[in-house]
Amino acid sequence: MSRVRRWSTVLVTLAFAASLPHATRAAESPAEAGHLAGAIAGIESTPVAGVYYARRDAGLLQPGAWTALGFTSALLTRFGGGRLRLERDEVLLRTSRRALRLLLGTGYSFANDAGGSYHAWHAVVGARFTFELGRWELGMRLAYLPVFVAHVGFSGSQRDTFAARYPDARDETGPAAATTWMPGQRVEGVLTARAAFGVWRVDAAGGLGLSPAAGRQWTNLELGQLPLVLRFGVGRTF
């Protein structure tokens, strides 16, 4: 993806988020509703959609913490790929209009393709900085997402790649599956915007989710690298 197109994507996302009508101040007071459920749609390299539930509490460090459970599906894989994630959002520092939050989470991801089926355990660790601008809560989220372990059940064709390697053992077959440690890591940096309309909440986020170890190939489509993150969500507090 060219630099112009990358920045255009980010700017369009920001413009769209800013064009949303003025709204009431995002709920942050501990006295306000403590449950939030909603849906998201967007792009995480590929089109995704999902649902989430979040619960607000007094926090381990400061008031205003959230715990969220979400399920995301990669739509065009026809439910072959998805993710279940539990995430904790703790306030580290807070002023009247600004807050610095710590993100910690863990989850399970699954995928399927010509190589086989995948089941992975991953984590999220990061920070989110927010500030209130008028009636908006604008922010920036930076997160590191390591995959701790992935179990791969090889397809027949992938298993066959291990066969016939040795001249004296052409009939030797390959393993049916493999477990690999730390097979993936990504860094996500997105700009966020959210607003509340009574009991309804609207969210938008846009930025990059790239593989840092891919180096210069971080936007190489032949290596499956399309580091675009766009999310739009609608939720309701209760």
């Binding site: 992935a150 730390m182 097979p183 190489n220 290596l223 499956g224």
Partner: protein, 329 residues
């Protein structure tokens, strides 16, 4: 410091520490020659670096030498194993190029025209130091053959090109595979980053392998029952580097200067079929003929389903009789 805060920060550091103890994806792909001593191999020094080539030979070493260069940049010679049938008359040598297949991985700096030519020359010199050899190049192996001809034209007395890549950049661009944006396999590949990222050679090779078969199905002649091409491992980074290095390369002059006999073998369908070969590759050579294989044979299955007519086309052309020491056999 409050206990909950210290726990939170401790978890952060634990995650970062675990992330540093990576084992990556070596379990997902077969090991390369430098990692697996059981693999037949040859060590060569190219561009100042010693590298282990996954290499197999078939037949009597005193017979005329026949070098076989695989197709698919980054791929291997597994699909061409049926050509070992030629070992009744030739000493057949097959190998995976540096950074490709089960050969040792290389750096971007080692992907250049001179080192590609030097590799082929060194393999030829290793097995036929006193006589020219015969070279068979398939698909992108034809491209490598063109590079070798440009630098070492006297190394080969006969040349066979099996549906080779075109030798000029403009024509090569017309044969590139499309990426169907709505295809399920494309999005499965993109979502795969959720569990695997190209952090090292093994992971990058595995990732590219998973996309290669559905991508290659586009050039099969029967879309309902697409052919498959057997591979061991796909060298992802050498594909990436070679695409960049040779994006504008033109090796037509090397072909035009070659005075040995050339046979081009092609199928009747696909982007690298007889139509393209007749229009863009055959006219480059001084002494060439083109053989078209029959129906039902395409770029992927011509060593399997097309084995019999392919071997017939080869045997009808190959006439080398000098052994590696230069004497007649």
């Amino acid at each position: 410091m409050q206990t909950p805060r210290s726990i939170s920060l401790g978890l952060v550091w634990a995650i970062v520490a675990i992330a540093g103890c990576a084992t990556r994806g070596s379990e997902l792909v077969p090991p390369t020659a430098d990692e697996d001593p059981r693999l037949p191999q040859l060590t060569v020094e190219v561009a100042g670096r010693r590298r282990a080539l996954h290499l197999e030979t078939f037949g009597d070493a005193d017979k005329p030498v026949l070098l076989v260069f695989h197709g698919g940049e980054g791929s291997d010679f597994r699909g061409m194993l049926p050509l070992q049938a030629l070992s009744d008359r030739y000493f057949v040598v097959m190998w995976d190029a540096r950074g490709s297949g089960l050969s040792e991985r290389i750096t971007a700096a080692e992907v250049n025209e001179s080192s590609y030519a030097e590799e082929v020359h060194l393999v030829k010199e290793r097995f036929s130091p006193h006589a020219p050899a015969t070279l068979i190049g398939y698909s992108s192996g034809g491209f490598h053959a063109a590079i070798a001809l440009t630098h070492y034209p006297d190394d080969f007395e006969q040349l066979v090109l099996i549906e080779p890549d075109p030798f000029d950049a403009a024509t090569r661009a017309t044969t590139e595979l499309d990426v169907p944006v709505t295809a399920r396999w494309v999005h499965e590949y993109l979502w795969q980053n959720e569990v695997l990222t190209p952090d090292d050679h093994a992971l990058a090779d595995y990732k590219m392998m998973t996309a290669s078969q559905p991508a290659l199905a586009q050039i099969a002649c029967d879309p309902v029952h697409p052919s498959t091409y057997p591979m061991w491992r796909l060298g992802a980074m050498v594909r990436v580097h070679a695409a960049r290095t040779f994006a504008h390369a033109d090796f037509r002059p090397g072909a035009a200067a070659y005075r040995g006999s050339v046979r081009i073998i092609a199928t009747r369908c696909g982007p690298l079929g007889a139509t393209l070969q007749r229009a863009h590759v055959a006219p480059l050579f001084q002494n060439v003929d083109l053989v078209e294989l029959g129906e039902g044979v395409d770029h992927l299955n011509l060593f399997d389903r097309g084995r019999a007519p392919l071997l017939e086309a080869l045997r009808g052309f190959l006439t080398a009789t000098r052994g590696p020491d230069g004497s007649e056999r």
